[in-house]
Symmetry: C2
Subunit: 412 residues, 2 copies
């Protein structure tokens, strides 16, 4: 094998590149394009919800009025006007105390996590991640050689008591924890919120053991039950939380816009680091986002998105209640895109996936979200992308297949 | 010092982040915004040359016609239609034999170099870079721990005979070279082309010593003397050249678009690697670029850009002939944005910079482009950004200051 590899370009690969393989989940998400398939898989937002008219109108105006800047390079930290606006808005809406020099505009949340890890994570650093959690954050940590330790979750997200026990055990072995990767609001894939008590406990642990928190928060604004929780960053007096705020779900993913809020000294390092990643964010996207923010269009759009996705969430929960056997447990999200389900009796979600695909229904087997290879009996269902009137039918198919597998298991 | 640092967020920094400092050249480029200053410093294109009307019109159309895709996430490798178009165009225009699976759309040339180094470069790998060369490519190599070896240049760019001698010397010490960072066309900062004989010799060396070539080519299309040279990638039968093609100068930097052409197996690795950098390129930017390419607007725009920048190049060369003392040597670029000059008698370009700034003229002291700290008597002059009618006056100021320093030197 090695000899064969050495004949091609692979002989030049860095060790870190040799092991790189396309993630199963991304391959599953590619399937969304199959004609007739109903995808409950991808975490992509529904394009029916994107602000097309606003974009056309705003860019028309920008091209007339901002000729010096709108298509030019920009500073690596992002547009000053956008950073100022966001600092004020995050203060008012999310309780985050920051100045523009603690805020870096990046090309999507993934780049925020890349820059966080580039700045902080060294080979062998112990980092905590939820079981299950989003693989994008995990990928950035792993790239920089983090040693990942899984923290159990339950119906309220991260099990902070379990986290405390893990930290104590690691401390006894003189292992310091460098960073915890956390989603406190509308967790992906769990679809749940960390309770106020757990939030306080988690921040107390971060202080006690002096670790950083990488808070990934793409879904906060998509809340279907009153006002969303405040992020952990709002409780961060010590500058230990790096907050990654995505605009993919409240504007659109296609403009690749997110912001990182960090201690200003750390933000300064990220700005220098990013000069060798992508130089600077897109001015076209930044001016468009700035216009969206300043004009009030964003607030109106968020309201609309909440109604749009809440209807889909309701449809899915009703369908689950109607079609899934009571032995299946699932979360009841108050925001975001996902329901996370546990199948009974060790049922294999990957096998279920194959059967569902044969009936043109896709979801993501939950194992993809567990760093320890567990979670074989779990699945993530997204209500974001499927047409509203297809959700019930797709869930019905899954319910039928689950019952069938339960029956055959009972019979065996 | 260390104790003090340890009280702040810096105690958590990864070793790689501690040493990161903002580059002098970027700080100089920030000065471009000073009122009344004539900047011959930045490598930014002139915003008078951006396709504003095309952008407004094309985006208006996209928002009406591409609602499913134009603001959505996309695949990490980039839009299939764009990659197909570019593969055909690069074949026809640049003699590059590639299929779409060897082509990755990235958010600017810097990200192309980041992904190249992420895929190939390991700590301690010996990599060759020109003396002088663009610091962006150097930064990516250094981030991955490359051991850089400088290769002398002359009026024709990389001195390939010197490169051969360096390779032979390294081979005697049993040091393999992993990669050479090369700009064969309209070099930054030199402003020159590698001659056909040198191009062949360089590719022969790459074959003989089995190293990769990272070919950074942002300025090729901006050619002011007939048709530009073909890139080294056009001579690459072995898949050892990674070609980074930027659209910053032929469309605009504000859309952050470039393409990497590589061996398909390597391109596949880059696609997976980039999933943890920025997930995917901006669909908004990609559709805009695709429309620019397919509509024929790009070819027309390139023709216009050539005339636009050729006039500025002519102005600068005429001003240099008129105002610089004959003891200064400078390049006569046939493309790109830059003239590179050597001052006589070891004159300090950094001191000249201070004096010029006092008279509101900026340029980049050339030392920034030398990895070995040499080049103290060199400077880079950009004719891209300054208003056409200000170029002569700015060069006159520099000429006067140089003569003054020559006089005082003679007198001392």
């Amino acid at each position: 094998m090695t000899r064969k590899k050495e004949q091609g370009i692979a002989r030049h690969f860095a060790a870190r590149a040799r092991g790189l393989e396309a993630s199963t989940i991304r391959e599953i998400c590619r399937l969304a394009g199959i004609p007739g398939l109903v995808s409950l898989a991808g975490g992509w937002p529904n394009p029916d919800a994107f602000p097309f008219d606003f974009t056309a109108e705003a860019i028309g105006r920008l091209m007339a009025e901002r000729r010096g800047e709108a298509l030019q390079y920009g500073m690596s930290e992002g547009l000053a006007a956008l950073r100022e606006w966001l600092a004020g808005w995050l203060g008012q809406k999310e309780g985050i105390a920051t100045t523009p020099d603690g805020l870096v505009v990046v090309a999507g949340a993934q780049m925020g996590m890349e820059l966080t890890c580039r700045t902080f994570v060294e080979k062998g650093d112990v980092c905590l991640v939820d079981l299950p959690t989003y693989f994008g954050g995990v990928g950035s940590l792993q790239f920089y050689g983090a040693e990942l330790v899984g923290v159990p979750t339950d119906g309220e997200g991260t099990d902070v008591d379990a986290m405390a026990a893990i930290l104590a055990r690691l401390a006894r072995r003189r292992r310091r924890v460098k960073l915890a990767y956390v989603q406190s609001i509308h967790h992906n894939p769990l679809g749940v919120n960390l309770s106020p008590a757990r939030r306080r406990a988690l921040m107390a642990l971060a202080g006690k053991y002096d670790f950083l928190v990488m808070e990934d928060c793409p879904y906060r604004d998509l809340c279907y039950a009153g006002e969303p929780e405040l992020p952990l960053k709002s409780m961060d007096g010590a500058g230990r939380v790096v907050y990654v705020k995505s605009f993919a779900k409240i504007f659109s993913p296609g403009i690749r816009m997110a912001a990182v809020v960090a201690d200003p000294e750390a933000a300064g390092k990220m700005v220098v680091a990013r000069q060798f990643v992508d130089c600077c964010p897109s001015n076209l996207s930044q001016f468009l986002l700035l216009e969206f923010c300043r004009s009030g269009a964003m607030e109106r759009h968020i309201d609309e998105m909440r109604r749009f996705y809440a209807r889909r969430r309701d449809r899915m929960l009703a369908a689950l209640d109607a079609h899934f056997p009571p032995e299946v447990r699932w979360t009841r999200p108050t925001g975001g895109f996902f329901v996370f389900a546990h199948l009974p009796g060790g049922m294999d979600a990957a096998a279920l996936f194959q059967e569902a695909m044969a009936e043109k229904v896709a979801f993501v087997p939950g194992r993809q979200f567990y760093i320890d290879g567990s979670g074989a009996s779990t699945l993530r269902l997204s209500f974001a992308q499927a047409p509203e009137d297809k959700i019930d039918g797709a869930v019905e198919v899954l319910g039928r297949l689950i019952r069938k597998r339960m029956g055959s298991k009972r019979g065996s």
